[in-house]
Structures are given as structure tokens and as C-alpha cells.
Amino acid sequence: MTALAWKRVEPLRAHPRTAEDFRRAQRDGRRVWLGGSRLASPLDSPVLAPVVDTLGALLALHASREHADLLMDRDDAGQPCAAWSRVPRTAEELQRQGRISTLFAHETLGMMGRLWDASGSFVNALHNVRTDAAKYRPEAAAVLEELHTRCGRELLLVALAAIEPPPVDGLPQGLRIVDRGPDGIVVSGTKAISTGAPYCDELLLLKNVFGRDALPPEETVGVVLKPSTPGLSLFCREGLARGPRSELGRYDEVDALVVLDRVVVPWERVLYAGEPDAARVLLEAVVACDKHAMARRLVAKLELLWGLGEAMTHLTGSRAVPAVAELLAGLGKHHALMSTLVEAAESRPEPAPGDGGGVLPERKTLHLALSYALEHYPSILDTLRLLGGQSLVVRPSPEDLAAPEVAALYARHLKGSTLELVPRARLWALADELTGSELAGRQRLMDSYAVGGRHILERELAHMLDPSAGVARLEARVGAPLRPPAPAEPPEENP
């Protein structure tokens, strides 16, 4: 079973990739399973098809009059490419990347974390360290160059698979090289979770080597694969949307288990195969770039939730209550603070890992922003639940409002605003989904899990914070050194 090599570079397209192109690409024979059954293609699943449509709509934005300026650019060869595939080198370019993330977040209500902005940032980060990786594996540079060019010009969506499955009897279960040949390597094993893998264009599989002793060479493997590669299977979780009534079902970015069963990977798709230093360089680059798009998405989400609070209290007429006004001000404050921190981080860029000249938002400020958002997000949801209260639990369904007898009862007794009952019920349904659905719960869990939770963020932050100025003043006052010896590094954990 051999993975496809890179196809020949296609002639330049007059227009960016369309939704129809993306739909067509889904019928490439990829082996996608849901509920124990194999799908003919993602388009044949009621869970995946609406998500493919959402992605198609986002692709259409690239060609739209309103957003093409933001979303499209030209690469170093002067060819049209996506702006998210340009490695940012200045504060202005970082801000532009941020605006792209914000646009995608607005379009998807902040519910999708694995769109082109995130996948573009992974590919850009890898591109920025290509010469560094090449010190340990010379062929890696060309693979990364090809991946970067192709993703930018063809608007390819890349899904990342970096998380390892839990060990069985203490033995790791991740990817391993089971054979090597002149044309490439043969890989077996699994990746525990890859979001968006069932409908992506390329899969980036990186063996996670953080916090481990040196892995045996056969377990140190990173590759880029087409989802339709023979021997590769994608097992999806069940859909989380609440049936056809769901307002958010089209944003259910489906997570999948990736299983490789003796997959032959040609050398031009291998990033590392036994070179731990190359693995380390590439993983560090990916981890460092991951937080910008997420921070922008959280800002957009906090803004939406603030608006939701305002709208709900407008409907219930409770805004005049002092405690409610205070809660609403709190929602606005969280958004303003987060937004300001992200802007500040973008305006003070730092060099990204690697010598490609790319930059990242200032790390400490971005960390503070994320830590703040994850710390306050649960209380924001609690506030919204309290503001919504009874209406989040009992409200008329579309069927209720379509039944004349029941609709008349609601019209008579559910007074309170000038807004018609149908849009009002729809707003409550949306509010309920945003604050209390399994889909929203998954997104919140993934936001936290993706950065290792608050305790990992805060531990990372502790390394960035420097108390030495305060200590120096105290030392000067008491006339003796007060600094403790540097503590030993805590053991790493796989979050």
C-alpha cells in the first residue's frame, strides 16, 4: 500500500479553489468510518456533509469581492496564493493573519478551531524551520517547501495529528516504522485524535516526542499523507449536533482516530524517520505557532457571548436590574481585556523558531491572554446561564410554534418584548446550544486540552515571568543574596 507522491504542479488557476472543488476532492476513495460503517465519502454522512458545506462557504470567501483582499496574496514567485500561507515577518503581517482568524471565527461562531488559518500556521511554522530541520535530515527541506507552496496555491486544508494514544500495558501504541526500502518507509500504528481529518486535503502526522526518553529510531516518524492513502483509515466519533434543529451542527468539526496499517510512505512525503533532532525542531515549531489563531478565535467567541448576554437581557427586560448590568459589564470587560492583550501581542512580534525570518506574537502577552480566557470562560458561561435561566431550559420548539393551539398559548403568555416569537425562540435555542450543548462542551474541552489546561499554561508562564527586579531591590535593602538556587526542571507530562 503506497502513499501517493506529490502530484505534478498544476497550471495556475484563474480563480481560487471553489466549494465545488472541495466537495469533489472528498470523493477520492478515502476510508472514513462512522458508527462502525464505512462511508462512501464524507458527503454521504449527515454529520460530515454540513461541515463540508461550511468549509465550501469559507473557500468562497477567498474569491469574494468583500474578502479577497484580506484572504488572497502572491507568494515569493509572484503566483496567487492564500494570505494565510504567507509566513508573517512584521507586526502588520501578524495582524493580517489575526484578522483572517477573526473572519473565520465570525463565520463559524468561534466553534471551529481547525480551519485554514490554523492549518496555514502549522505549515508556515514548519516552513520557517526547514533549513534547521535539514541539518538533521537534509531531505526534509524539500518536503516542507513543496507542502508550503502547494497548500498556499491550492488552498489545501491540512489536519494535524500529533496526539499519541494511551499506552497499553505500559507500551506505546503510536506510529512506528515497520519496514524501510529504497522508495520509502512502511508505517503502522495510530494517532489518537485528529480534528477535521475526515475531510482534510493533507494529513500531517508527527510523532510526539515531548517529555519522553529518546525514542527508538523506528518510533521517531513524521509524515505528510493524503487521506486517501491506501492502508490509512479514519474512524470518526459520532456527531454532536442535536439533529436537524441544531443551529451549530454545520460547525461540528469531527475528530477522528487515524490508523495506519502498513502504509508505504515515499521519501518525498517523509519529514523524519529515525532522526530525533529533526522531530524536535518540527514539533517545537508547530507547538509555538498554535496559539495565535486560537487566541483570535476566543476573542471572537467572547464578543459573541457578550452580545448574547445583551440580547438575552433585552428579551427578558432584566437589563435595568443592577446585578444584571454588573454581569453584562463583566462580559464586556472580559472581551475588551482579551482583545487588548491579543492586539498588544501582535504589535510586538518575536522571532518564530527557525531561521526563515518568520515572527510570532509576543509570547508572554499571548500566554497571558490565553490563560485569562481559559480562566474566565467557565464563569462567562455560568453568567450566561444565569441570565438565560428558565428560557434556556423551557422554550417553544419550532413544532410548538407551528401548532396553532400551542402557539396561541405561548403568544398569550410569553410576552416580554417586541420581537416575534419565532426569532425569539431561535435565539434561545442558539443560546442554549452555545452555552450547554455537547458540541459547545467539546469545543471548550478542546480549547483547554489543546494547551494542556490552565496548569500547563501557567507553568509555561512561570518560566516567562521574571521576579528578579523585585528580588534585586530586596537584596540591596538587606545587603545579602536572597535568590534560591535554580530549581530542577519538573518532570514533563504528556498533557
Binding site: P166, S397, A403, R412, H413, L445
Partner: protein, 492 residues
């Protein structure tokens, strides 16, 4: 409209079959715009299953002693409705709540312990209410007698629909008396968010106490009513989903409803008050005192459940040796232990309940602290356990996956965790996902929070219970010691 029935004789110790039979009384229950039969509609199957199981517990050899009480005259009642007179009674009432919470994994808050507590509270103020409104005592005593002897499920409706504050009073459609007759009153309007009304035996409809000063007398109305009373419609929310199998203990969904009263006649024999705001205020005060005991016991059960879950998940995921995983279950255990101690202390230190009936309640400050502490920390514990589950909660193989030959063999190979058995791990993660992130769990969390008014209201209530007097005296003494008499003006 026809006269609502007063009270009927019921069988001695009720069975699940008897409960189901009672549902076929012509009640007007609506789901998704259609009138439905409660006994056969799938929306209610989980809740009816729970009620039947718990009724069987009342009659079982091991449950009878805890769940029922027999008075000297030989009458057997639900213990949950008997007003406690001492610490031992309080502890047993708490044990009843814990038993119900364990049966429902803390996901049902409206069972007999809640309604029984409310009834016991009402009974304790019956004499006081009689002094304000002759006739109310008889209504309370009769309702208590019927409900406690018949093991009837009574749910309370007090939340009003969300009204725009800009609307004039006459447009608000607040539930009110629209006609007075010699034998009773006619009421019209709605109550929002009455949990479990569709399968209740009785409904207790009350006016919220803090709204009373802003209402005209016609809106101060409280009464008992049968769900099948003519003119009363019960509008239900849709189900909360969940891929439950038949008999799945996690299939728990107490359905929330709206009650719409279209000129419903309430006979005097069921009327607690109609225009007497002082009675309404007294009844409200009595009810609020009793509601918190069962509430805290249920939250404690949920904390204990999360403690156990975190331990098993960390074992199944093979992360039990990580310090951060150990912190998750240590914290869950610490929070559960602290709440348990506060509850035990509150029950062991009874104080007189509102009213002159001689009943006691758990010591209010400790109970309030336990409630506030549990509500404050439950979400944090749930999030930590959720993070512990991580990928396992998001991407968990379904039964169909494990049964499929092609998919199942991959899960067999890669997904056993330290137990080596993917079906065990999948079952555990599925339970965890249901308890942490399902719509039922989210709804329960929302209602826990909303039911107490949230942090703001709890803190306000707590501040009324806290006494800074001792600290103030100490500071005054200190000031006097340091500054002499010259600071008296300041310290006063």
C-alpha cells in the same frame, strides 16, 4: 370549567403500576405542538422508570425502614414528608436524599425528598397561617396527609414567565385570580419551569416571596392542583437526547414544563391563599428553608461521583502517576470531604424551623456554606475531570464501532489503555461523557445554579447570616488599648 377534584383516597403503599395507572387521568400534556399520553410517550420513559424504581424501593425490605415511617396509630407514610424533630430525624431525611441522588446520579432534583421537604415546611407553619387566613391549616394538613400516605409525587411551580419590565401590569399575564366564587376562585395565567409536572400527582403553585410587594392582591395566589384539572395545559420541552439503551441507569431526564392556566377553577379546599400577601410571604419563607437540605445532599453525591470517576479514569488512561492527575482526584476528594463535614455538622446541630409546629432544620449557616462551597467547586472539579479524560471523552468508540469487525480490531489493538480492554475503557468514558458533558448534565448544572439565584444571591444570603460582631469588638478593644479613650468616637 368543571370543579377541580379535591383529594381522593389512595392505596396504602403505592407501586409503580399504581403510579402509571394514575397518569391516565386525562391530563393535557403537550410535546412539540401535539397532545400526548404521558405513560407511553418516549420523552417521559426515563423519568417514569426512575419513579417506578424508587417506589419499589419504598416497598423493599432494605428501603422500607429508611423511606417510610409508621406512626403510633399504625399509619405508614413517606418519611420524606414527616417533619424532623431532632438531629437523628434530620440525618435520616438527608440519607433519603442521598439514596435518591445515588439512584439518579444526582441528575434529578425534583423527587419526593424535595416535595416532601416542602410539605413538611408547610405543615410546620400551618397554625401560623391559620391565624392569618382561617381555612389554610386544613388545606395544608389534608394535602400533607394524602401526599405522605399515598407516596404521591408533588412538584412545585413558582417561577413566572420572563416578562418585559416595560409592560404594564395588566399585560403581563401573571397568574392571578380572575373570578371569585362562593366555592373557590378562577385563575388565569402561566407558570414557567415547573420540573416534572407532566408526571406529577399533585402540583403546588406558589407566588415568589420577593415579588409580593410589587403585585396587586389578585396575583397573590397559591394552591394545590391536580395535573388533570380542566383548563390546565402542561407544555413540555423536547427531550435531551442521549443514546441510551433500554434500562440504562444513565437515562435520566426530569422533563421541565410550562403550566398554562386557562380559567382554572380552584376550590377553597385546595386554596392556600388568594390575596393574603402575609400568608404568601409566610409560605414562601417556610418553603425556602426546606429546599436546601436535599439540594446539598444531591450536590455532595455528585462530588463523590466525580471523585470516583477521576480515580477510575486516571487508571484507565494510565496517567495515575502524573502529579497533575493525582491533583485532580485529590481535589475532588477534598471538596467532597469538606462538603460532607459541613452537611454532617449542620444536621447534627438542628435549629427550630420557621413556624410553630415544632420541627427543626439543619443549622442554616453551615448548610449555606456547604451549598455555596459545593456550587463554587463542582464546576471546577467537573472541568478538571473532563481535562483528565481529554481525547478519550471527545473520541470514544461507540458500541457499533467495537462490534464492527474491521473497526473493532483496531480499537482492540490500540485503545485498551492500562486495562487492556477497549470495551471497558469505552464504557467508562461514555459514562464520564454523560455525567460531565451531556445535555442532561448541562441542564442540571444550569438549574443548580439558577435554582439558587447564582453566586450573587447566595453571597447576599450568606452576608445576612454572617456576624462580624466579634471581630469588631476585638478591633475596638485594640484601638482603645493603643489610643486610649480618644478613639471611642472613631471605633463606634
Amino acid at each position: 370549567m368543571e370543579t377541580a377534584r379535591v383529594y381522593e383516597a389512595v392505596e396504602a403503599l403505592r407501586t409503580g403500576a399504581g403510579f402509571r395507572r394514575a397518569l391516565a387521568d386525562g391530563r393535557s400534556v403537550w410535546v412539540d405542538g401535539k397532545a400526548v399520553d404521558v405513560a407511553s410517550h418516549p420523552l417521559f420513559a426515563p423519568a417514569l422508570g426512575v419513579v417506578e424504581r424508587l417506589l419499589a424501593r419504598h416497598a423493599s425490605a432494605e428501603g422500607r425502614e429508611l423511606l417510610t415511617a409508621t406512626s403510633p396509630d399504625g399509619v405508614t407514610r413517606g418519611r420524606w414528608a414527616v417533619p424532623p424533630r431532632n438531629a437523628q430525624d434530620l440525618r435520616r431525611a438527608g440519607q433519603v436524599s442521598t439514596l435518591f441522588a445515588e439512584e439518579t446520579h444526582g441528575l434529578m432534583g425534583r423527587l419526593w425528598d424535595t416535595s416532601g421537604g416542602c410539605l413538611a415546611g408547610l405543615l410546620n407553619v400551618a397554625k401560623d397561617a391559620e391565624a392569618l387566613r382561617p381555612g389554610t391549616r386544613a388545606v395544608i394538613e389534608r394535602a400533607w396527609e394524602e401526599i405522605s400516605r399515598g407516596l404521591l409525587l408533588c412538584n412545585v411551580a413558582f417561577v413566572d414567565p420572563p416578562h418585559g419590565r416595560g409592560l404594564p401590569a395588566h399585560q403581563k399575564n401573571t397568574l392571578r385570580v380572575v373570578e371569585r366564587r362562593a366555592d373557590g376562585v378562577v385563575v388565569r395565567g402561566a407558570k414557567a419551569l415547573c420540573t416534572g409536572a407532566a408526571y406529577s400527582d399533585e402540583l403546588l403553585v406558589l407566588r415568589v416571596g420577593y415579588e409580593l410587594p410589587n403585585l396587586d392582591d389578585s396575583a397573590a395566589v397559591g394552591f394545590f392542583v391536580k395535573p388533570a384539572t380542566p383548563g390546565l395545559k402542561i407544555l413540555c420541552r423536547p427531550g435531551l437526547g442521549g443514546a441510551h439503551r433500554a434500562g440504562d441507569p444513565l437515562a435520566v431526564d426530569e422533563v421541565d414544563t410550562w403550566l398554562v392556566f386557562e380559567d382554572v377553577f380552584i376550590p377553597h379546599g385546595r386554596l392556600l391563599y388568594a390575596g393574603e400577601k402575609d400568608v404568601a410571604a409566610l409560605v414562601w419563607k417556610a418553603m425556602m428553608t426546606w429546599d436546601k437540605h436535599g439540594f446539598v445532599r444531591r450536590l455532595l453525591t455528585r462530588l463523590e461521583l466525580l471523585f470516583g470517576l477521576s480515580f477510575l479514569m486516571s487508571k484507565a488512561l494510565g496517567v495515575g502517576h502524573y502529579p497533575s492527575a493525582q491533583k485532580v482526584f485529590r481535589d475532588a476528594g477534598r471538596h467532597a470531604a469538606l462538603v460532607a463535614r459541613l452537611v454532617a455538622f449542620a444536621e447534627a446541630s438542628p435549629q427550630p424551623a420557621v413556624g410553630s409546629g415544632g420541627a427543626v432544620r439543619p443549622e442554616p449557616l453551615s448548610l449555606q456554606l456547604a451549598l455555596q462551597y459545593a456550587l463554587e467547586h463542582l464546576p471546577e472539579v467537573a472541568r478538571a475531570v473532563e481535562l483528565l479524560g481529554g481525547q478519550g471523552l471527545v473520541l470514544n468508540p461507540s458500541e457499533a464501532d467495537l462490534d464492527s469487525e474491521e473497526v473493532g480490531r483496531h480499537y482492540d489493538e490500540y485503545f485498551g489503555g492500562d486495562t487492556g480492554d477497549p470495551s471497558h475503557r469505552a464504557a467508562l468514558m461514555s459514562v464520564a461523557a454523560e455525567l460531565l458533558g451531556s445535555r442532561s448534565a448541562q441542564r442540571q448544572r444550569l438549574l443548580d445554579y439558577y435554582g439558587t439565584g447564582g453566586d450573587q444571591v447566595l453571597t447576599l444570603q450568606l452576608s445576612e447570616m454572617l456576624d462580624a460582631g466579634r471581630g469588631v469588638r476585638l478591633v475596638r478593644r485594640l484601638l482603645e488599648q493603643r489610643e486610649g479613650d480618644g478613639t471611642r468616637e472613631l471605633s463606634s
